[in-house]
Chain length 424, copies 2
């Protein structure tokens, strides 16, 4: 478990002045990792965000390779040493300012890619509020399945189609069947949705056959990013029995460029508890540290910018807001559960948390929730209405941590745009 | 679609004499690809099996890199040229014999690895016989779900835990809940099963957003191997709703070392048709070539060697036999379906066909079928009985094609052994 240290001190200032803006996602206390390249580059470089700049870690002499998956395998102590070295070089008054200055680039002028090579991608289902709301639509009498409070439900997803923030994708075509149809039909998805998730990026691997215990689980997580698991609800409804979602999910997902380390998130940990009357998890999913501070207080937002808004220079409407603290299973529990059968994790593996909806109806992390399965259209500030996504819509996820006495730690944004379906 | 040419002529003999044995899996007409290394090697080399030997393709001057995933991206014409060049060098009387001879190694003396770096792994469910038998156990009144005859059902699986043939793995621990229990319990899986599958290895990639049509689908498949998708049935029963199998499958899978190319399988193609009265697939899953010869006639066998048999020098019992011709969906249909929504495939992606059971009860490709969900133990030649797998059991999958007027084309074997569960 990470702890608060001198790198979290709120009065720590950087000689990169934009990092000292209280509204910045990327103060000196954050230093999230990502990959970037300049216009002339073929290969990715490793960078950390600082204010509106990005620091080239290799050029600054802090690392000797631009292999992010290798860097992510660092032991927790080595990772913390690197954090301290970055803070030392970037703090106001650092004797290394000149050297680091030469390794800075303006974030808006570089290309930000996926933060690493993604190995296996697993999607979980950790929001009991999401599971219950969706369950009510499908099974009004029995919304939450009996395994939900015992098993951190997860399934494997598609890694190849995970795109960096800013990319667009075509509305998928597929088979769908309405209840009143006898046979399925083929064509563009009509219930295209987003899912507000966090992406947990695995750092240290475990060998096949060697489970990771709760006490060590967080040592294997490099950090946290924003993640949008786009979903074709009509395709999903027809295809998903009995083996789970497939083409309804694997046409595209979007991952934000910056991975915020668990070290940076140390001040925002919160106790993990369950509602009165819910069962205690089985022993392999329990640890004292997890009970004391297994949750993380991360505010999350979904914004929608339609093509009409974009043309009018409008940044979009906020559709909902929720908090990762409300998840039913913690980061450590996901790692311990995923490996309890001996399954091996590798650096660069990605866990999606599943849609992070809050307890209130307006806190749904997907349109399926906000529009009650497409039955209740809502109106945007532009006067347009939505149930599901239309072509040209851009969805933007944002996340940030705030706590009195600490600097704001932000996640930047995760942005993707829907293009029309490919014609058949 | 591949065609029969001079490389399939049955009278073609090799100067590697073991390849001319009619019982060999690896005659000159086969030439499956794999990766091997000598004792002193750190890196894998690309080889093809020929009789009881393996030809080092780079040492023979046929390729200039040992990157199998790169080789698999070859265009079909280039792949066929390579096949012709291999046959030319290995045929009896070849002027290149001396050069190729220097690139030969005894198969039994080298280490055979996974044939490539595996990207995304997808498991399908193409045997209607398997789906029906399993469905009967779960839903006696409604064994086959309504989507089965329309959708080539598939889901994403775990790539990290795919092991090469010969490896062993620990019986997984996990949560299970019997119907008469109020709460789940944790411990070693008690219903450990194998699944007899073929693994289709993707060669040529497609870009995200560009579906692959039926007519081009097979050009994207490099070849076919044997695949065992080990399954923890008791874990699966408790965890799989609503998002599909997860820990019940991702603790281990086993892939055979040799990938038999679709070119080598050209003589064993068969018409693809459906039982009278079944619906025709939707248009995107139909092509004239697929109807004419979309199926492949591959005989498949499952063998079980218990620890007791092994100690007695007994090779094991054959548990069942089936044929890939009986699958409900073809190779081309799996590719076309997987990409119809724009999902991108990459070289090295693996498709499991799903358990390949035949129409007769004794042709079940898993113990869940052969023991009727564990209710009917059967007796082995050693006098031992089985419902599910015991610690020390080795499961061996075999496959081969035979047709009058052609040489036998074999797949070698896919072997894995169950070790006791890790203690908690």
């Amino acid at each position: 478990m990470t702890t608060i240290d001198a790198t979290h001190a709120p009065d720590l200032q950087s000689w990169v002045s934009s990092a000292n803006d209280p509204a910045s996602d990327f103060p000196l206390q954050n230093l999230p990792f990502g990959r970037f390249r300049l216009e002339a580059d073929a290969d990715w470089r490793i960078g950390v965000a600082i204010g509106d700049q990005v620091l080239d870690l290799r050029a600054a002499g802090l690392i000797d390779s631009n292999d992010m998956n290798r860097l992510m395998r660092l032991l927790p102590e080595a990772r913390r040493s690197l954090r301290h070295a970055m803070v030392e070089g970037l703090r106001a008054g650092s004797p290394q300012q000149a050297k680091f200055q030469a390794a800075l680039h303006v974030q808006a002028e570089v290309e930000l890619g996926l933060p690493c090579e993604i190995g296996d991608y697993t999607d979980f289902y950790t929001s009991i509020h999401h599971a219950t709301t969706i369950g009510k639509q499908l099974r009004p009498d029995n919304p939450l399945l009996p395994n939900y409070k015992w098993v951190p439900i997860g399934y494997h997803g598609r890694a190849s189609s995970i795109q960096p923030s800013g990319a667009s994708f075509h509305r998928p075509n597929g088979q769908t069947k309405a209840p009143d149809q006898d046979v399925p039909s083929f064509g563009p998805c009509r219930r295209l949705d987003y899912e507000l998730e966090l992406g947990l990026v695995v750092g240290r691997p475990n060998p096949l056959g060697q489970p990771i215990a709760m006490a060590q689980a967080e040592d294997h997580v490099f950090g946290v990013a924003l993640f949008n698991d786009w979903s074709a609800r009509d395709v999903q409804g027809w295809e998903y029995q009995p083996l789970g979602p497939f083409l309804s999910k694997n046409f595209a997902s979007t991952l934000s460029p910056w991975v915020v380390t668990l070290d940076a998130l140390a001040p925002f940990r919160a106790p993990f508890s369950r509602p009165e009357g819910d069962p205690e998890p089985l022993d392999y999913l329990v640890s004292p540290a997890n009970t004391a501070q297994g949750a993380i207080d991360i505010e999350l937002e979904v914004w929608l910018q339609t093509a009409q808004m974009r043309a009018a220079g409008h940044a979009g409407d906020k559709l909902s807001q929720s908090n990762y603290r409300d998840a039913y299973w913690t980061v450590a529990q996901l790692v311990a559960h995923h490996t309890v059968n001996g399954c091996n994790l590798r650096a660069g593996d990605l866990f999606g948390t599943g849609t992070l909806s809050g307890p209130k109806p307006e806190q749904g992390g997907s349109l399926m929730e906000l529009s009650t399965g497409g039955k209740k259209p809502f109106t945007l500030s532009s006067g347009e209405t939505r149930t599901y996504l239309e072509d040209g819509d851009t969805v933007i996820l944002r996340g940030y941590c705030v706590r009195d006495g600490f600097r704001r730690i932000g996640f930047g944004e995760c942005r993707g745009t829907v293009l029309p379906a490919v014609r058949f």
